[in-house]
Amino acid sequence: MMRNGVAAIFRRELSLAWAGGSGLFLPAAFFAGTIFLAPLGIGPEPRLLAASAPGLIFVALCLASLTTLERIFQADLEVGALDHHRLSGLSMELATLAKVAAHWLVSGLPIALLTPVAAVMMRAETVTLQSILPVFLGSITIFLWGGIGASLTAGLRRSGPLVALLILPLFVPVVIFGAEELNHVLTGQGFGAGLGLLAANSLAALAISPFAMSLALKLE
């Protein structure tokens, strides 16, 4: 029953995102827009662009994740869907995790898949499909931490800027390890030490985030 309930929440989130239409690709579009704007500010010099590519890609990923974060729990809280999850006896930890996972699948994964395109635009030396993996791992962590910010501010109106202030410090390790690792990949050195640290970070976020989210949503 537990597994069915969690799967139902996951499917519901996906169909809601699908029905939302244009909102679906908003974070990916935001990500692409940031990356396309950057060369106009930095200048077209290939060496300069390639050097700033890893950092810019991760910063753009963080900012793009913020665009839709507040929607993870807010609408459900307003219509009372969260109360139903709670009353159904379903574990709130799993329910919140399912919601964040669906949200990530719709908003985070497309950004990770866009990484090679972004790297080409930023004139990176060696662009391979390997470059997807650091952003993939980083985006998981970013959405899990983001979920905490979203759950803490779910009961507030216009919480966007507040969420950004709350969770930006939590993005520091992801940006550091992620940009370092992406730099490794984009300069043709293959995977480096950062990948393990990125994965460790994702696991830490996975261990902490569901409990914090369910605690934050319990007494709203």
Partner: protein, 242 residues
């Protein structure tokens, strides 16, 4: 043990004389400590008089770290034991901790100009202190966004604990990224690497700043408790009038 001090009335009675005591002692120690540091401690061999900013910088850094740690402990106690005084303590420590982090960053920046040649470097310890300041500001902003005090308390406590779990990871990642700041030397496992004429004034100033922090925190806690008592009384009066 916790429940003994969790009683607001006992806290008010205790802090009524403890707060002024801390304030007076702290003011005396800080004043004499700075006088000691500025006029009597010999000048450092390589940095000259500029190293004396250490007597503000290091105590501010250490006490602000301790203040954040105390916020985390209070948040944990509040979430597990539901003592409202733990929440009052966490809330009251936040602005003082933020101010001390800010003092630490400003003095560090001023110290960096003559010694490193620049006001700001993206060095590991400066960066983690900057993000600690952001965590505390986020905590204060989150609390102030809620209308009801119990919502603010709960959300604040969760955020503070998540931040406390993350602070070591942030610190590690930033250290991995870049290190220029001199390694910790004042208190290490192998004893202090400071000469005694620098070591003792630093301890003295640390105690002074710690006492000032304690006094400010207790004053803020008393104000918060009085405010909550007033709100509760107002609500009761409104109910009986209606």
């Amino acid at each position: 043990m916790f429940s003994t001090f969790a009683n607001p009335h006992r806290f008010l009675a205790l802090s009524k004389w403890l707060m002024p005591l801390f304030a007076v002692l702290g003011a005396i120690i800080v004043a004499t400590g700075w006088a000691w540091a500025f006029f009597f401690v010999p000048e450092e061999l390589y940095q000259g008089a500029t190293a004396k900013i250490m007597y503000i910088h290091v105590p501010a850094a250490m006490v602000s770290l301790a203040a954040y740690a105390s916020m985390a402990v209070c948040s944990l106690l509040f979430l597990t034991l539901k003592h409202s005084i733990a929440d009052v303590a966490a809330k009251s420590a936040a602005p003082v901790a933020a101010a001390l982090s800010f003092i630490c960053l400003v003095t560090g920046s001023l110290w960096g100009r003559p010694t490193w040649g620049t006001y700001w470097v993206w060095d590991a310890r400066l960066t983690s202190m900057l993000f600690q300041l952001f965590l505390i500001l986020g905590y204060m902003a989150l609390r102030s966004a809620f209308q009801r005090e119990q919502d603010a308390a709960r959300a604040g406590a969760i955020l503070c604990l998540v931040g406390a779990v993350n602070l070591p990871i942030i610190k590690f990642s930033v250290e991995w990224w870049n290190t220029l700041h001199q390694p910790a030397g004042f208190i290490t496992l192998g004893g202090s690497s400071y000469a005694p004429e620098f070591y003792w004034p630093l301890w003295y100033n640390l105690i002074g700043i710690g006492l000032v922090f304690g006094a400010l925190m207790m004053a803020a806690m008393r104000a918060e408790i009085f405010n909550r008592q007033y709100e509760a009384k107002l609500a009761r009066m409104n109910r009986s009038a209606a």
